[in-house]
C-alpha cells in the first residue's frame, strides 16, 4: 500500500487540473463528482496507507518515496520526494478525511454559484498543496506546498471576486502570510548554507551533531522558521489576516481553519523540533507567542458579532494552544489538539454555514436567535462542536487535548505557572464566547425567519464530524504511542501539578465561562449591553473588537507608506535625470539658434571679435 503514497497529493492535483481546463464547460454534477471524488479517493488511499503503516510499520518508523530529482545544481539536489512517518501520517489522514467531508458539504452549499467548477478546482488544489506540504521530504518541497496553500487561500477568500472587499481580504491573507514566508525562505538559505542540505531528516541529524544547544545558528534558524509559522498559523504578530479571511465561502473557512493552512505552522515546528530544541530561547518564544495569542484572540472573540469572525478568533486562540504545547515541548499534545481541533472546528463552520444559508446569508449573531427548534441538526452539531471547543469535561475530544496541553504547560521544564495561568484564563474565555454564541444564535426569540433547510449532503458531514468530535478524544493513549515513534517524549519536571488537579481546574474554568455566558446573555441580557455602554467598556469593546488595534497600526506603519511611496514615484524619479539631460541639450540648442539672427552685421561682428580673440590667444598664451 505504501508505494501508492504519491497518489494522495497527485489525485487532488489532477482533479484541480481537470476542473481548471474542462471546468467552464462542465455541468455542476460532473464538477462535483470530480472535485469530491478526487478527495474521496485520496482519503481512502490515505486510510489504507494508515492501516498498512500501523499493521506493518516500515523500518525506522518512516517510509520515503522519491519520484524524481527536482533541481540538481552542485550539492543542491532537492528531490520531489515524500516522507511518511507517524507525524505526517496522522496529519495526512486527518487532512484528507476532513477535507473530504467539507467537499461533500460544499457540493450542496455552492449549488447554483456561477463559479462552481472553479471553486472545486481551487479546493482540490488546496488539499493537494497541503498534503504536499505534509509529506515533503525536504524543506524546498515543503515550501512549495507552503506557498501553494497560501495561494489557494488567496484564491478562495477572494472567490467572490466581484466584491473588491473580498479581493482585499484575499490579498491580505496572501501578503501577510508571505511576510512570514520570506523569513522562512531566509531560514532555508541559512540552513542550506550551514548544513549543506535541505532534506529534513538529514538536516535534523546534522544540526544535532554540529550545533550545540543554544548556538547562534540554531537560534537564528529556528527564529526564521518561527517567522514562517506565525504567518501561516495566524499567530501574533501576523494574525490579522485570518478574521478577514471570513470573506470566502463558508466551506473555505472550514478548510482553512480545520484541515489545511493554519495548522501548517504547527506542523512545521513539530517537523523541525530538533532545531527548536537546540534553541531554547526560541522555543520559549513559541510558548509565549502561543499564550499571548490565545488570550488576545479570546478577548477579541468575545466582542465580535459576526458568527464566522467569532469562530475565526477561536481558531487563532486554539492554534495558540498548539503553539503553547510546542513551546513547552509537549509535541504530541500539540498534534493531538490539532486533530481534535480539525474535527470540531470543521464541524462548527459547517454548522455555521447551515445557519447562515438558512437565514439569507445573515452573519450577525444579534439578528439570529431561537434557532434551536428550527434547525435541530445545526443546533445539536453546533452544540457538540461548541462543547468540544470550550472543553466540556470527560465527554468531548477538545477537553482531553486541551487538558493535556495545560497540564504539560504547568509541568514542563520550559514552562511554568505563568503559561499555565494564561492557558487557564483562555479556557474561561473560550467557554464564555462559545456559549455566548450558542445562546445568542439558538436560544431566545426567533429573530429572522428560516428560509432554507439543509439537505443530506450538508447534514451528514456535520454529523460525522460531531461523532468524531466526541470519540476523537478517547484515542489519546494509542495516539501518543503512535506519535512517540516520530516525536520526542514530553519531559516532565518534577514537583509539578498532578494530573487530577489540572483536570479539575480545567473543568471548573469551563464551568465558570459557561455560567458567565449564561448569566450575561440568557438570564440577564441587559448586563452585557450596559457593560458595553459605559465609556470604559465601550473603549475596551472597540479595542478588542478591532483586534487590539493591530490592523490600524499596520495600516499606518506599513501599508500607507508603501502605497504612498509607490504612487508618489509613479513617474520614476530616476527618469527625471534623463529628462534633465534632454532638457539641457534642448536649452543649448535654443541658446545657439538664438544667435542666428539673420543680421549680417552681427555675423561680421562675431567674425571680427572671434578673430581678435583667437589672435590674442595665439599671441599671448
Amino acid at each position: 500500500m505504501l508505494p501508492l503514497l504519491w497518489l494522495v497529493p497527485a489525485i487532488p492535483f489532477a482533479g484541480a487540473l481537470t476542473l481548471a481546463v474542462l471546468g467552464p464547460r462542465m455541468r455542476e454534477k460532473a464538477a462535483a463528482v470530480i472535485g469530491t471524488g478526487s478527495i474521496a479517493v485520496s482519503a481512502v488511499i490515505s486510510l489504507f496507507i494508515a492501516a498498512a503503516f500501523l499493521t506493518a510499520p516500515p523500518a525506522a518508523g518512516a517510509y520515503t518515496q522519491t519520484l524524481w530529482t527536482w533541481i540538481d545544481v552542485g550539492s543542491f539536489r532537492p528531490a520531489i520526494a515524500f516522507y511518511l512517518d507517524a507525524l505526517s501520517l496522522v496529519m495526512m489522514t486527518v487532512v484528507t478525511f476532513v477535507s473530504f467531508l467539507i467537499h461533500v458539504y460544499s457540493a450542496e452549499f455552492m449549488r447554483g454559484d456561477e463559479g462552481y467548477s472553479r471553486f472545486f478546482a481551487y479546493m482540490n488544489l488546496f488539499v493537494a498543496s497541503m498534503v504536499t506540504l505534509l509529506l515533503a521530504d525536504n524543506l524546498l518541497l515543503l515550501y512549495l506546498g507552503w506557498e501553494g496553500v497560501g495561494l489557494c487561500s488567496y484564491l478562495l477568500i477572494g472567490f467572490w471576486y466581484q466584491d473588491p472587499a473580498n479581493g482585499l481580504a484575499g490579498r491580505k491573507a496572501f501578503i501577510v502570510t508571505r511576510i512570514g514566508d520570506t523569513a522562512m525562505a531566509v531560514g532555508l538559505f541559512l540552513l542550506f548554507h550551514n548544513l549543506g542540505t535541505l532534506r529534513i531528516q538529514d538536516l535534523m541529524h546534522a544540526a544535532q551533531s554540529q550545533w550545540p544547544v543554544g548556538s547562534a545558528y540554531a537560534i537564528a534558524a529556528a527564529a526564521l522558521l518561527l517567522g514562517g509559522a506565525v504567518g501561516k498559523s495566524a499567530q501574533l504578530p501576523l494574525q490579522t489576516w485570518l478574521p478577514d479571511a471570513m470573506a470566502g465561502p463558508t466551506p473555505t473557512s472550514a478548510l482553512i481553519h480545520a484541515a489545511t493552512m493554519v495548522t501548517a505552522g504547527v506542523y512545521l515546528i513539530a517537523r523541525t523540533h530538533v532545531l527548536f530544541a537546540l534553541a531554547p530561547p526560541v522555543q520559549f518564544a513559541v510558548a509565549v507567542v502561543g499564550a499571548a495569542t490565545l488570550l488576545m484572540a479570546g478577548f477579541s472573540a468575545a466582542t465580535q458579532n459576526d458568527i464566522k469572525r467569532v469562530l475565526a478568533y477561536s481558531t487563532i486562540s486554539q492554534i495558540g494552544y498548539m503553539f503553547l504545547a510546542l513551546g513547552v515541548g509537549a509535541w504530541s499534545a500539540a498534534i493531538f489538539h490539532f486533530m481534535t481541533h480539525a474535527f470540531f472546528k470543521a464541524l462548527l463552520f459547517l454548522a455555521a454555514g447551515i445557519v447562515i444559508e438558512a437565514l439569507h446569508h445573515e452573519h450577525n449573531i444579534f439578528r439570529m436567535g431561537g434557532l434551536r427548534n428550527e434547525l435541530p441538526v445545526a443546533f445539536w452539531t453546533f452544540l457538540i462542536g461548541g462543547c468540544a471547543l470550550a472543553g466540556l469535561p470527560l465527554i468531548t475530544a477538545g477537553y482531553y487535548s486541551k487538558d493535556l496541553i495545560l497540564w504539560s504547560a504547568a509541568n514542563s521544564t520550559a514552562g511554568g505557572m505563568g503559561l499555565w495561568a494564561a492557558g487557564m484564563a483562555g479556557v474561561v474565555l473560550t467557554s464564555l464566547y462559545t456559549f455566548r454564541l450558542i445562546f445568542l444564535v439558538f436560544f431566545g426569540r426567533l429573530e429572522t425567519a428560516v428560509s432554507h433547510r439543509p439537505g443530506l449532503a450538508m447534514t451528514v458531514p456535520a454529523c460525522v464530524l460531531a461523532f468524531l468530535s466526541i470519540v476523537g478524544g478517547f484515542g489519546k493513549l494509542p495516539f501518543e504511542a503512535l506519535l512517540a515513534t516520530a516525536l520526542p517524549q514530553f519531559r516532565e519536571a518534577g514537583g509539578g501539578m498532578s494530573e487530577a488537579l489540572a483536570s479539575a481546574a480545567a473543568g471548573l474554568a469551563f464551568l465558570a465561562g459557561l455560567l458567565a455566558a449564561w448569566y450575561a446573555y440568557l438570564q440577564n441580557p441587559s448586563l452585557a449591553r450596559s457593560a458595553a455602554a459605559n465609556p470604559a467598556g465601550r473603549l475596551l469593546h472597540r479595542f478588542w473588537f478591532s483586534d487590539w488595534g493591530m490592523d490600524w497600526l499596520y495600516d499606518r506603519v506599513f501599508i500607507r507608506p508603501v502605497v504612498w511611496a509607490a504612487s508618489a514615484n509613479k513617474a520614476d524619479v530616476i527618469d527625471s535625470i534623463y529628462d534633465g539631460l534632454a532638457g539641457a541639450a534642448a536649452l543649448c540648442y535654443r541658446l545657439l539658434s538664438a544667435t542666428e539672427t539673420g543680421k549680417l552685421r552681427w555675423y561680421a561682428a562675431w567674425i571680427a571679435g572671434g578673430s581678435v580673440v583667437t589672435l590674442a590667444i595665439v599671441m599671448w598664451l
Partner: protein, 100 residues
C-alpha cells in the same frame, strides 16, 4: 631701410576702418566699399613686407588680391542689384532672411 613699422601701422588703421565700416554701415554698397578697404589694407601689408625683405612675393600676392577683389566686386555688385530689385532697399538689417 623701408619703414615697415609705419607701413604696418597704416595697414592696421585702414583694416580697422574697414571693419568698423562693415559693422556700422547698413547700406550694402558701403559694406562692399569697406570690404575693399580691408582688402587693400591687407595688400598694403604684403607690399610693405615685400619691400622690407627685398622679395617679390609681396607684390605677387597683391596682384592676386587685386584680381580677387575685382571678381568679388563684380559678383557683389550683381547681387546688390538683384537684391535691390527684390526688396527695393539696400539695408542689410531689413533683408535678414537667414535667421535660424
Amino acid at each position: 631701410m623701408f619703414p615697415i613699422r609705419e607701413g604696418f601701422l597704416l595697414s592696421g588703421v585702414l583694416f580697422t576702418l574697414g571693419v568698423i565700416g562693415v559693422l556700422v554701415r547698413r547700406n550694402l554698397l558701403f559694406v562692399l566699399m569697406s570690404i575693399e578697404v580691408m582688402l587693400n589694407a591687407a595688400g598694403l601689408a604684403f607690399v610693405a613686407a615685400g619691400a622690407r625683405w627685398g622679395q617679390p612675393d609681396g607684390q605677387v600676392v597683391f596682384l592676386f588680391i587685386l584680381a580677387m577683389a575685382a571678381a568679388e566686386v563684380s559678383v557683389g555688385l550683381a547681387l546688390v542689384l538683384e537684391l535691390y530689385h527684390q526688396y527695393k532697399s539696400l539695408d542689410t538689417d531689413a533683408i535678414s532672411r537667414m535667421r535660424g
